[in-house]
Symmetry: C2
Subunit: 490 residues, 2 copies
């Protein structure tokens, strides 16, 4: 359960890149077993049809081993954060509000005891998986694919008692669909104001559930068309419960689209690419080759990343540096004179809060993040709690943190120097922060994250059982076992 193969692959495939505005992301990545393809022309005909045909024909057996593995990691990460978010106010409200309207108890809520019909369950689990802002990210598009496709296909697979192989294939294809469609319209679509996770994600949910329903090509075309009709989410909602509403509703909408298409409900054959279809209506950029090029060869799902820390990504290099220094050295905190940081400008702009009053505010403080990580050697939920924000030791140390902007520092980098009162120093430069495509979380990191985020809502042993089932998802005859294991007792 290591990701060494993936790291090795990455180091050979990824070209040195120096995008200054975001973490560097390779534009395409070959799968283990597939030959690299030539970049094709940006076709704008039959986009919906070509994608649907691929989805219908794509089998589990065709998935390269590293793609299966990354799908499994996406599942594990999503389930952990969804359990972790399962008792947030937004989730409590959604569950209470929808109870009188729900259909039969077809699918489980993660980390809770209730069961709902598949669409309401998908919605609520979708809210839970995104509400902590701790989920996965396809950095090329800022789509959070697991947050939409996870709840849609898990709820439906539990209802339908799908096998692990069917499920993992649906997950990978759903992620592929959402991220490829996101690529086609990003960044313009996002810049305009759309929450791309809900607008591109709904296609992924429809595609994934469509696979579980074994749709034929025409039905899949219509499922994508009905999904195109239901984009969810505007960026103005960020900072409110409405943000996590978006992946939840996109998940439910995708199921709704796939079910109706399976029943014979029709749509256009060209909803993605037509003049008055999705891409042209919803974005000022359309690169359809991103959707139809190298299908089955280029896997966007390999570019999925998992947040190692429950805070904005700009803090991740700093946390990475502090944790590495703390773990590698026996640091006497009281003897620190100052901590000097060279940082990218975004860090102070987004996380410049010097005296955070509580756990929430501490997520916006590079001073807190540096201090708590040096003291505790971690940057998880507990390190961004009210307790940590008010810890006198943390408060003392955060006053010694001295960040300065350095134009040479890239967004996923930091340069940290601890200066002790006796003049000694410790230094760490982070080239790529942990959790980036270039420095992915290891499987062990993912498990640690799962426990960190989930075990306040489920007993430790139960978390371990869910983790074990996720790792062996391919061998399950009924994926409902995972959902059942992730339920809380009443």
């Amino acid at each position: 359960m290591t990701t060494m193969n993936r790291r090795d692959l990455l180091s050979t495939v990824i070209a040195a890149s120096a995008a200054a505005s975001a973490f560097t992301v390779p534009s395409a990545k070959a799968a283990d077993t597939a030959p690299k393809s030539e970049a094709g022309k940006g076709a704008d005909k039959d986009v919906t049809k070509t994608l649907a045909r691929y989805l219908v024909g794509a089998t589990y057996d065709q998935l390269p081993a590293n793609v299966r593995k990354e799908g499994t990691r996406t599942l594990l990460n999503w389930i952990g954060v969804a359990i972790g978010g399962s008792h947030e106010p937004a989730v409590n409200i959604a569950s209470t509000t929808l109870t009188p309207f729900s259909g039969p108890a077809q699918a489980s809520l993660l980390g809770r005891h209730e069961r709902f019909d598949v669409m309401n369950a998908a919605f609520i689990n979708g809210v839970a998986g995104h509400v902590l802002d701790y989920d996965d990210t396809h950095l090329k598009t800022i789509v959070h694919p697991g947050a939409v496709i996870g709840p849609a296909i898990l709820a439906f697979a539990e209802y339908k008692q799908s096998s692990g192989k069917e499920f993992l294939n649906a997950l990978v294809l759903g992620v592929e669909t959402a991220c490829r469609i996101g690529n086609a319209v990003y960044p313009n679509h996002y810049d305009i104001g759309w929450h791309i996770t809900g607008t591109a994600g709904v296609f992924g949910a429809a595609a994934g559930v469509g696979k579980l329903l074994n749709l034929n090509e025409q039905q899949m075309i219509y499922a994508l068309g009905l999904a195109a009709s239901q984009p969810v989410g505007l960026r103005e909602s960020f900072g409110s419960m409405n943000k996590s509403f978006n992946p939840g509703r996109a998940a439910a909408n995708g199921i709704f689209a796939a079910l109706l298409a399976a029943g014979g409900y029709d749509s256009s054959n060209a909803m993605i690419e037509a003049q008055r279809g999705w891409a042209n209506t919803i974005s000022t950029k359309q690169d359809f080759h991103e959707i139809t090029g190298e299908l089955g060869q280029r896997y966007e799902s390999l570019l999925n990343t998992y947040k190692p820390f429950p805070c904005g990504i700009v803090l991740h290099p700093t946390l990475d540096a502090a944790i590495q220094l703390q773990r590698a050295n026996k640091i006497d905190i009281d003897k620190i004179e100052k901590v000097v940081l060279k940082i990218h400008p975004n860090v102070l702009e987004l996380t410049g809060k010097k005296t955070p009053a509580d756990g929430l505010e501490s997520k916006f403080s590079v001073y807190h993040a540096t201090a708590v990580a040096l003291i505790e050697g971690a940057g998880g939920m507990k390190q961004f709690s009210d307790r940590a924000a008010r810890d006198p030791k943390v408060i003392t140390l955060r006053q010694k943190v001295q960040p300065t902007i350095d134009p040479a520092i890239k967004p996923d980098q930091v340069d940290m120097t601890i200066v002790f009162k006796d003049g000694k120093t410790l230094h760490k430069f982070i080239e790529h922060a942990v959790g980036s495509v270039e420095a992915p979380l290891s499987d062990d990191d993912l498990q640690r994250k799962f426990f960190d985020v989930a075990d306040s809502n489920l007993p430790h042993a139960q978390c371990q059982k869910v983790i074990d089932l996720c790792w062996k998802v391919e061998s399950l005859s009924n994926v409902g076992d995972i959902a059942a294991a992730a339920r809380a007792s009443a």
Copy 2:
């Protein structure tokens, strides 16, 4: 039950207008009892809040009499067409597909025997009300307000056993919300590719259900915010079942938004007007004064119109002329040599089919429409059936119809001359086609339409009962009576 007051009002209020691209529509119209207001400045601050405050404070007692009346007519028209569409394939598929996932039997399907939870019922009734393309139209925006707000609030009012006064107030305010928001972004929003009925309509559904839920101002703001996050529908879907999907899903989404807001689920306070909010993201035009100006004084709901004929609006002047000639004269069809039409160019572009093979194709034939209306003195469902399209008498006469484009003819006009073999002629010029704002359907026309469209799905006496209940909706202590009366026996 006449509309004389409304006609009189219209004739005095409406300025002479000569828009060539669409039916002429007055830009604002004063209500019976409200003073005319000065046009205010186009404020773009607190749009969502101002609208929400108005919605929360607006009571049934404040509604002018003509606004109540028009709301009642909107209800009657929508219920009739929804019963009429209730056994179309799209509706059958929706009902069958959603049955296993529905919650408790809270709300009735119109014209059918099934009952579903409120959101699924609203969806299915929403499909039924739009599937025939025979519903209402706010011509300024091409929003079909009844098609979204009707199913949302009827399903919810049945569940909640709301009174007729509450219901009518919710209907008017829902229509007002959808049409005002449509005004703010039309035509750019529609031209880009959005099906405005589903994108603006979802706000109306949320507002109407929000009234039935008695939301406070903050909750209403959030209901509008969650609605803004769920626009439905792209024009590329026109011509498929996906078109009628859009108002149905918008109705369900509006309920979903209002319910969650009632439960405490939050959103932004400025989802309509913020930089990355709805209007700026979804349109290149934003006229926020259309949303917040003259609230309680200017009623967009007075501009709602009802299709007199189940076909494209470009055919309506021709049908109007032919029906009036047939009713006023004893025409011997066999003695007609030719029928000369002077028409607007759109007519031949959209309905130029010379030899329609069946009922559906006959809706796109000005030749058929002229012939069948001259023979049968009507232009209802039966005149656009397979039977009518294949009637030898109609086929003979349609070959004698000679349309010519005349630049002087406006879109809601036609000039029709019947030339008989003996040289005599009959002539009719239509200044404004029946069903336009300037020549609205009378209450009797609306009843005739109801029977024409609905009585193949419900017995005549039952239709009469539903009609009677609709006319007296204000006096009902439980609006569920209408829904129950419109159900088919199992």
